[in-house]
């Protein structure tokens, strides 16, 4: 059976596939945004001199970097209802919610490491200069330290974004109807592997390209300040 271009286009345009791509995109953005804000305290704790906070943060990162994504997905989807039976009856605990929680837990660990190293690469004199001018601790962080750390963190953050997008494909194991779940079902019905896999690949390429373009725009804005 040769590659059927028609079938490939049909696969691309299947409503289930388009919805799957939408789910993957929304899930990725949601996980990324939640993880970004949640990783900030974790990053500060990772660099903290206070023992208890530091150990707690390191322990967290250690666990969630070591755990396979599939394990966490299954743990959250199958495991938490065993501990909290109320979840079984609740209408809001959907595969989408379970996938979001699982991926946020993992992504926080990776992003916290990225932010910690970015924050520590901002010269200590920056914070001192801001405080000497009378800026409070939070203002110093928000207006002086954070913008400089973000610039350093941007490339690894984009990598992390792409990574999150790719691991959303594993959420088919908890029956989330994202791209790979749709593809697997369609192949089971048609046995046309190549057309459906290619269609999935193209969707991932499109989403990643969109965000690389976005990164390019942000980087160009920043580079004005780095001329010399």
């Amino acid at each position: 059976m040769a590659f059927s271009f028609e079938l490939f286009i049909e696969a691309m345009l299947t409503p289930a596939m388009i919805r799957g791509a939408g789910i993957a995109l929304v899930l990725t953005v949601l996980v990324f945004v939640i993880s970004f804000f949640a990783c900030l305290p974790m990053a500060l704790w990772l660099g903290s001199k206070k023992k208890l906070r530091n150990i707690a943060a390191k322990l967290y990162v250690w666990v969630f970097r070591a755990a396979p994504v599939i394990l966490i997905l299954l743990f959250v989807w199958n495991g938490t209802p065993q501990l909290f039976p109320a979840l079984l009856k609740s209408s809001w605990f959907t595969p989408f919610v379970a996938a979001t929680v699982s991926l946020v837990l993992i992504t926080i660990a990776y992003m916290a490491e990225i932010m910690r190293s970015a924050l520590s690469s901002v010269a200590p004199g920056q914070g001192e200069a801001a405080q000497a001018l009378g800026l409070g601790r939070f203002q110093t962080f928000r207006l002086v330290v954070m913008p400089q750390a973000l610039r350093i963190a941007l490339p690894p953050m984009v990598n992390e974004f792409i990574n999150v997008l790719k691991v959303t494909s594993l959420a088919y194991v908890i029956s989330l109807r994202e791209i790979m779940a749709v593809v697997n079902d369609s192949i089971a019905a048609t046995f046309r592997f190549v057309e459906w896999y290619t269609a999935a690949l193209v969707y991932y390429l499109i989403i990643v390209s969109l965000f690389m373009m976005l990164q390019g725009i942000v980087a160009r804005r920043q580079s004005k300040a780095d001329l010399a």
């Binding site: 004199g125 001192e128 200069a129 000497a132 002086v144 300040a225 001329l227």
Partner: protein, 244 residues
């Protein structure tokens, strides 16, 4: 009249290593103090305690009559009245020169943007660098950056300025332009405490020279006496090393 700064028996140590031992110093409004001494003598730590970038362990520090304690309100109040310039300028690299100068006035003094920009341009003109306002710090020379740092501090309308070795990181040909700027500020009557090795500047500008060694103030005297007739052995040794 309240003293600008009063340090009373101030001590500080890093772990078991004492960096400041029983420091007593009072600075009158309008007075210019130059602090010198060998490296590691505690000069930088001393001026950094005045705006609480370093916490003192014992003794008391009053700035403009306000005591420096753990009370954050007092610390913020003092920091907005005391300007500071650092050895490595510490300009904010992600902001333009103008934004460097308006950041604190807008966010601390709650000045409007137009007002802050007007003030910023006024002080950038004063340090003779208004044409660089739209550039970023990395596009300026070291001397220009330090002058911007001075303007940035002045935009907060401080009653006093602290200089922590403002010319130590500069190429020799740029030292003059920065010292001239500080000179002009001194003539305007600004109270200042300056840590520096520039002895020509000290004798020209200072009302008193403070010599420190091993965390202690060894002598405090007017510059003429200090340079021509140092009393203490350590001072003599330091000055002869500086001249050779």
């Amino acid at each position: 009249m309240t003293e600008a700064v009063v340090l009373n028996n101030v001590s500080k140590s890093y772990g078991s290593f004492p960096v400041l031992k029983d420091i007593n110093l009072s600075v009158e409004p309008g007075e210019k103090i130059v602090i010198c001494g060998p490296s590691g003598s505690g000069k930088s730590t001393l001026i950094r305690t005045v705006n609480r970038l370093e916490k003192h362990d014992s003794g008391s520090i009053h700035v403009d009559g306000i005591e420096l304690s753990d009370d954050l309100k007092n610390i913020d109040q003092i920091r907005s009245r005391v300007g500071m310039c650092f050895q490595h300028f510490n300009l904010f690299p992600h902001l333009t020169i103008l934004q460097n100068c308006t950041l604190a006035p807008v966010h601390v003094l709650k000045a409007s943007r137009q007002e802050a920009e007007r003030t910023a341009m006024h002080y950038l003109e004063k340090v003779r660098i208004p044409e660089q306002a739209q550039k970023y710090p990395s596009q300026l020379s070291g001397g220009q950056q330090q002058r911007v740092a001075i303007a940035r501090a002045l935009c907060m309308k401080p009653r006093m300025m602290l200089f922590d070795e403002p010319t130590s990181a500069l190429d020799p040909e740029m030292i003059g332009e920065v010292l001239d700027t500080i000179d002009a500020l001194a003539k305007d009557g600004m109270t200042m405490i300056c840590v520096t090795h520039e002895m020509g500047f000290a004798s020209r500008v200072a009302d008193r020279v403070v010599f420190m060694d091993a965390g202690q103030i060894v002598e405090t005297r007017p510059p003429k006496e200090f340079f021509e007739d140092p009393r203490n052995e350590r001072t003599k040794k330091f000055l002869s090393q500086l001249l050779n």
